[in-house]
């Protein structure tokens, strides 16, 4: 059983209330942190090895230490709760069941970076979660954890929730800041980075929900204790939201030493593939990361067991590996059609492209149209190469990472499942029948 840091108390009845949360030891980290120097908190987080849980995996302590601190200029902490990467629903779970954990982490982090007004940018569709967080903030204010001179420390802090309104691009930190300023969520051209010029041109740190919640345990138990969990540079625990054709979809907290095989097949986690089917493929870190066929998912190209951590999931680069990403773990069984699945993701990125820069604006729609054509039995062989070339010309050439996010799923699908695309083109009638899958990718595996 993995050690739980974040979700340990998730099942305690009424943990959403201040009373129960306090009884369970809540807000201890705040009491401790306010007695520390802000820089020592940053050092503690650096020592923990905590990496950003939103998808990029950038070391959090380092990000905090980059924050510019010009005299007389406000600094801001913004929590990115715009969870919209397909396959990812861990932040929602955390906020819904443990709202005070996020608020506690927010106050501690605000103190560390010197933010007196902090914002939680939550995706607009999570309206009921907003209510839960609002209630938690009210309770925290009444308890004296928010407001002026918190616990006599002289530190003032307010937290406000800002609801988005349906735009994946606002998960990109500068798109988020634009949206928070009441504008269209168009990502900014970097540099300058938010650490220098962020919200209203002030130095700003943007962190994911899970990242901020993890700070609580780092302060309580110490950065070294956090760093002892996990392996290598994958320290601490990670929330994985598992979905797709598995027996037990849901949010799991893992320490990053377990194998992918164990995660999929053990009853503690996904409980195996649903309906007695075989595993065909998996998108292990949110829809943007490369899809892997079963064989490469469970073992690396070197033949080693693949583990659920940053290094192991990306072992082999994009040729034979993928990424940890946001922890959105989507499993496809032998009946699933890769072309159809790729089309659905291409449609998603086309829909979500902000339209600011030309490769993404024009390229995402083009890729979707070609995939529609192949999916509907009208494809030609040259279309596969064309798709490859389009994704190649988008990747790396856009203002923000949405370009890559749109390009990678298409590239990986062609890289690993090219013959399935070819089959579609050669069998225009059969491919219209749903749930086609090339059985050879699926492998029966027995849990060890």
């Amino acid at each position: 059983m993995s050690k739980k840091i974040l979700l340990e108390k998730a099942n305690v009845e009424n943990i959403q209330t201040m009373e129960v949360y306090r009884r369970e030891g809540g807000y201890r980290s705040l009491e401790k942190a306010l007695k520390m120097a802000p820089n020592d908190i940053v050092e503690e987080v650096k020592r923990s090895g905590l990496r950003g849980r939103g998808g990029a995996g950038f070391p959090t302590g380092l990000k905090w230490s980059f924050l510019a601190k010009p005299e007389g200029v406000e600094r801001y902490l913004v929590c990115n709760a715009d969870e919209s990467e397909p396959g990812t629903f861990k932040d929602r779970y955390l906020m819904e069941f443990l709202p005070h954990l996020l608020i506690e982490g927010m106050i501690v982090s605000s103190f560390a970076v010197g933010s007196n007004v902090s914002y939680i940018y939550i995706r607009g569709e999570y309206e009921w979660v907003t209510d839960i967080l609002d209630a938690a903030i009210d309770e925290a204010r009444k308890a004296g954890f928010l407001g002026k001179n918190i616990l006599g420390s002289g530190f003032d802090c307010e937290i406000y929730i800002h609801r988005g309104a349906g735009a994946y691009i606002c998960g990109e930190e500068t798109g988020l800041l634009e949206s928070l300023e009441g504008k269209r969520g168009l990502p900014r051209i970097k540099p300058p980075f938010p650490a220098v010029k962020g919200l209203w041109d002030c130095p700003t740190v943007v962190n994911n929900v899970e990242t901020i919640a993890s700070v609580v345990s780092i302060i309580n138990e110490g950065g070294d204790a956090y760093a002892r969990i996990g392996v290598g540079k994958s320290t601490g625990t990670k929330l994985i939201s598992a979905c797709g054709n598995i027996n037990k979809p849901g949010v799991y907290e893992i320490d990053m030493t377990i194998s992918v095989e164990e995660f999929i097949y053990s009853d503690e986690y996904c409980g195996g593939i649903a309906n007695g089917k075989k595993l065909k493929a998996c998108v292990p870190g949110g829809s943007s990361v490369p899809i892997l066929p079963a064989s490469l998912l469970l073992t690396t190209a070197k033949g080693e067991k693949r583990l659920m951590n940053y290094e192991s999931l990306s072992d082999g680069g994009f040729a034979t590996g993928s990424m940890m990403g946001s922890g959105g773990f989507e499993v496809l069984d032998e009946d699933q059609c890769i072309v159809r699945h790729t089309l659905s993701l291409a449609r998603f990125y086309h829909h979500e492209s902000c339209g600011q820069c030309s490769p993404c604006r024009e390229g995402t729609g083009w890729m979707e149209k070609i995939l529609q054509k192949i999916e509907h039995g009208k494809g030609e062989m040259k279309d596969i190469d064309l798709l490859w070339d389009i994704q190649r010309k988008i990747e790396g050439n856009t203002i923000c990472p949405l370009g890559e996010a749109a390009a990678w799923p298409v590239a990986a699908a062609i890289r690993h499942f090219r013959d399935e695309f070819e089959w579609h083109i050669l069998n225009p009638k059969e491919c219209l029948v749903r749930n086609y899958g090339l059985g050879k990718y699926a492998e029966a595996l027995i849990t060890s």
Partner: protein
């Protein structure tokens, strides 16, 4: 055209969340309130009214309202079924659910039933992938959808 007193209070509270002179930041939250108060969609006079409250040009509101998918720029039914169709929902059969709703309500995606009760929209990932297939209905998510569940939801709305 004016907000109710309650809404107006909320609007001013929202504006106070942002530094002076940065009142435009409250645009998204205020448009949510406006959409709720004025029949579930944002007509031009509504957007112009919001612009006047925030002391910004109307075009700044139009630009924002058209960017975000949650804002309706046309009238919608009393109940809007927003069914997710992205990858994780798709592998769990969201296409079948969408077809079933179309058949039950006899409308296409984007349309409203003649009685003005239901609108069907397809949306992209709503962050409920583990509970797929799903849809958003008002404030809440309806998850693990099946044909029976869809029937029950339609019946619930009609009552």
């Amino acid at each position: 055209m004016e907000f109710s007193n309650d809404s107006l209070k909320k609007v001013h509270e929202l504006i106070s969340h942002y530094p002076e002179g940065k009142q435009k930041s409250a645009l998204l939250p205020i448009l949510h309130i406006a959409q709720k108060e004025f029949d579930g969609w944002l007509d031009v006079p509504v957007m112009d009214y919001v612009a006047s409250i925030l002391n910004i040009e109307p075009i700044e509101v139009y630009e924002v309202a058209t960017f975000y998918s949650m804002f309706n720029l046309k009238p919608v039914g009393k109940y809007v079924f927003e069914v997710c169709q992205t990858g994780p929902c798709m592998v769990k059969g969201s296409d079948d659910i969408i077809s079933y709703i179309k058949e039950k309500l006899d409308i296409s995606v984007g349309e409203t039933t003649p009685d003005g009760l239901f609108t069907l929209k397809t949306v992209e990932c709503l962050g409920a992938c583990g509970y797929a297939p799903m849809m958003q209905l008002g404030k809440t998510y309806r998850e693990h959808l099946s044909k029976e569940k869809v029937d029950a939801i339609i019946a619930e709305c009609k009552n």
